[in-house]
């Protein structure tokens, strides 16, 4: 059959029809997901049903950034929750948080992309260029937001803040004092110099990968098991590696303490010269030094020493690790991140320790361990908007993490410049900061060498003594005596079973017996005891007893 010939007019009509259809389809296609902000106080009021379709991508001090269907903000408004729409269609865009220490920064950002100030020091930024690092001025610290996966967030429950199941009070451990004393300023200096010698460690460069190999070899030389964790970023345009060294825990290896820093660097000539001595060869040297000192240590928990890459591009390396750690349910007790710990423009430099609310306990523990083992000026800062370093990636996955950083981080005149070199650093400050972090890490991972066994056979009796109008409870505890090496015992009490214990004896007890009176007769108390050996090391808690657990022995 002969094919029918289409006239010229007919072809034109078909083309026009197809164009009209395309316009119609695009006009009626559903709007893309929106990026919006709600106050944290409002988020806490949201019901479980209202959270469906709601993906939190960032938690800030006062607000949450979230993505959801286009109609989501309206449905929130109907529920009385104000949602501030930041971008009406997120499709095909890459969003960054930019740390903006100065008001003029907003104007600078606005010249190269879209910038919205979220709080005093945090700006939301996006552009069509893809990677913010390609177009932003060097002075900015940035974080890439993951609009696809979101972060691990749930409405606050108001519960007690979590913490490791360690004794609440730090009992000085002679071993940790020894380790702190072993931290070497010379080695720290040598490592910073070695990293600086790579000229640049800008992720995406060969030199950066070479510096990663250097770190891998350094960990291996110490005797630790090492691995590369390779990942890509910038739309798989670049590949780079996190360096992970592991010191396995002795008694509880499933629990992990992470000591980390990013080893990549940045400057205004990043491709060729970014010495990054302070940012962040200093933190990387501290990680390596702590690994060196603890390599032969016997600790209860596993310690991972991690040097992250591509932090300067937007925390890519730590995000990759933290997301995978979350998915494989890694039991991370706490993360100690160090980022710029050696520059000081004052005589008495302060190390700032940044925490978010769920990491507050870790910050307290860090400060307490440092005050016991390596005293130095420290300042804890609670700020969920501190999103500018690798600890933020762990916060996003609900892990506890702290970041140690020099107080003058915003004032370092060499920040992200080719002049950020070793000669500008205060190595005594670097030494102190490293010692404080080592103390905190060792305390968290808990030295297990010759730790005494907890007491056994704990028994408790209680009685109530009263008059007509008052009564008090008295409690008697007894347990089996420990070996001769026992220097004493500590008694801990709680009003809830299973935790929340507080030490109640000011000095270790000589005998395995304890009594106390004047307690509330209407409250049930729970007790555990520990052994302290003649080296000052404290055991784990004994089994718990209720105050009247053994009253049946005398007919109660």
């Amino acid at each position: 059959m002969r094919p029918q010939k289409t006239s010229r007019f007919g072809r034109k009509a078909v083309v026009l029809g197809v164009m009209a259809l395309a316009v119609l389809v695009s006009a009626t296609s559903p709007a893309g997901p929106v990026l919006f902000r709600i106050a944290r106080a409002d988020a806490a009021k949201m019901s479980a049903e209202s959270l469906i379709g709601f993906v939190v991508i960032q938690e800030l001090a006062d607000s949450l950034l979230a993505v959801g269907p286009a109609a989501f903000p309206e449905s929130l408004a109907a529920a009385g929750i104000a949602a501030d729409i930041l971008d009406a269609d997120i499709r095909g865009k890459a969003y960054f948080l930019v740390h903006t220490p100065q008001p003029k920064d907003i104007a600078a950002l606005g010249r190269v992309g879209t910038a919205i100030l979220l709080d005093q020091r945090t700006c939301l930024f996006w552009t069509d260029a893809g990677e913010a690092r390609d177009i932003l001025m060097p002075r900015f610290r940035i974080k890439r937001l993951d609009v696809g996966q979101g972060i691990s967030w749930s409405p606050p429950t108001g519960g007690a803040e979590p913490g490791p199941d360690a004794p609440a009070v730090i009992i000085p451990d002679p071993q940790i004092f020894e380790w702190v004393a072993q931290v070497s300023k010379n080695r720290l200096t040598e490592t910073i110099q070695s990293l600086q010698n790579f000229q640049t460690r800008y992720a995406s460069t060969v030199a950066c990968e070479n510096s990663g190999t250097f770190l891998y070899n350094a960990f291996a030389q110490i005797g630790l098991a090492c691995e590369y964790e390779t990942f890509t970023f910038s739309g798989a345009a670049y590949a780079t590696r996190n360096i992970i060294a592991t010191l396995p825990g002795k008694s509880n290896p499933n629990k992990v303490v992470i000591v980390c820093a990013h080893y990549d660097s940045y400057s205004n000539k990043a491709s060729t010269l970014a010495p990054g001595a302070d940012d962040n060869a200093s933190g990387t040297a501290a990680v390596l030094e702590i690994a060196q000192v603890l390599a032969a240590a016997s600790l209860d928990y596993t310690v991972k020493f991690i040097c992250f890459s591509a932090e300067e591009w937007g925390l890519y390396g730590s995000r990759y690790y933290a997301q995978r750690a979350k998915s494989r349910q890694e039991n991370i007790v706490g993360v100690i991140n160090m980022d710029m710990i050696s520059y000081s423009d004052t005589a008495n430099p302060i190390l700032e320790v940044y925490v978010n609310p769920s990491s507050n306990w870790l910050g307290n523990r860090y400060l307490e361990a440092a005050s016991v083992y390596a005293p130095m000026p420290l300042s804890k800062i609670l700020d969920s908007s501190a999103t500018w370093s690798d600890h933020s990636s762990f916060w996003d996955q609900s892990f506890s993490a702290v970041c140690g950083i020099e107080e003058s981080a915003d004032r370092n005149p060499y920040y992200h410049r080719t002049s950020d070199t070793l000669d500008k650093l205060n190595m005594n400050f670097c030494l102190s900061s490293t010692r404080a972090s080592l103390a905190a890490a060792a305390d968290l991972a808990r030295p297990s060498t010759d730790r005494p066994q907890p007491p056994t056979g704990l028994q408790a009796w209680s009685q109530i003594v009263g008059s007509l109008f008052s009564s008090v409870k008295s409690v008697l505890l007894q347990w089996n005596a420990g070996p001769e090496t026992v220097a004493g015992y500590n008694v801990y009490r709680s009003i809830t079973s299973g935790g929340g214990y507080e030490k109640i004896n000011p000095e270790p007890l000589r005998q395995p017996v304890f009594s106390e009176s004047m307690l509330n007769p209407y409250t049930t108390y729970y007790y555990v005891v520990t052994v302290v050996d003649n080296q000052g090391r404290e055991s784990e808690y004994s089994d718990e007893v209720r105050d009247d657990q053994n009253n049946s022995a005398f007919g109660g």
Binding site: Q463, I464, V465, S470
Partner: protein
């Protein structure tokens, strides 16, 4: 960690009782009619000492079975054998704490208890020559305080209203003097107590003897 019953402010009921007591005395004395020469004295002032046995076993366990009590009374004849009585009573006793339930130790603390009462009531007396019998009842306003000697802050205090009923007998060796014995039962609900005694009543039985000066 110590539960203490805080001293309570004067309750409205207690203040009302004090007012009632004042009115009672005033009205009582106001109602006194001129005495007939043959009726005998119209007023009396009595002092007495006695032993108090608390109704609640917890009180007896803490302070013993008998506690000394002292009273002073004013008596005024209203009409015939009907007398108005107003008195002040002091109960003061030492004791020791007790253990409620199982015990692992003989832990004990010294206690001190004091109760000051103002009583007001009516009494009807029958006379058979020098010998008489009487029965009466009334209310009491009580101010009590319990203290742990060695533990400041423990114990309790308060002001509570109660009542009493009495029986007694008199013998009058002279026109201006009579000796008497009496027994009374009292109730002073003091409310919530301790783990040892959840609901306290400070009343009990009292046996007393005294003498009255009549005029």
């Amino acid at each position: 960690m110590i539960r203490t019953i805080a001293p309570s402010a004067a309750k409205p009921g207690f203040r009302a009782a004090a007012v009632f007591f004042g009115l009672f005395l005033g009205i009582g004395f106001g109602m006194i009619r001129p005495a007939d020469p043959g009726d005998g004295p119209n007023y009396a002032v009595a002092v007495e000492g006695g032993m108090f046995r608390a109704t609640q076993s917890s009180f007896r366990m803490l302070y013993g079975s008998g506690a000394p009590a002292f009273s002073v009374r004013l008596e005024a004849r209203l009409a015939g054998g009907l007398w108005a009585i107003a008195g002040y009573r002091l109960l003061n006793v030492k004791g020791a704490t007790a253990i409620a339930g199982p015990a692992f130790d003989d832990e004990s603390y010294s206690l001190r208890f004091e109760m000051k009462s103002i009583q007001a009531g009516l009494r009807y007396a029958f006379a058979f020559g020098r010998i008489g019998l009487f029965a009466g009842a009334g209310g009491s306003a009580n101010n009590y305080k319990e203290r742990w000697d060695d533990v400041p802050g423990l114990g309790g205090s308060g002001k509570k209203i109660g009542w009493y009923a009495e029986l007694g007998g008199t013998v009058a060796p002279a026109r201006f003097l009579s000796l008497f014995i009496r027994g009374d039962y009292s109730s002073v609900p003091a409310g919530q107590g301790s783990a040892l005694e959840p609901n306290v009543n400070l009343g009990g039985l009292e046996a007393a003897a005294g003498l009255a000066f009549r005029f």
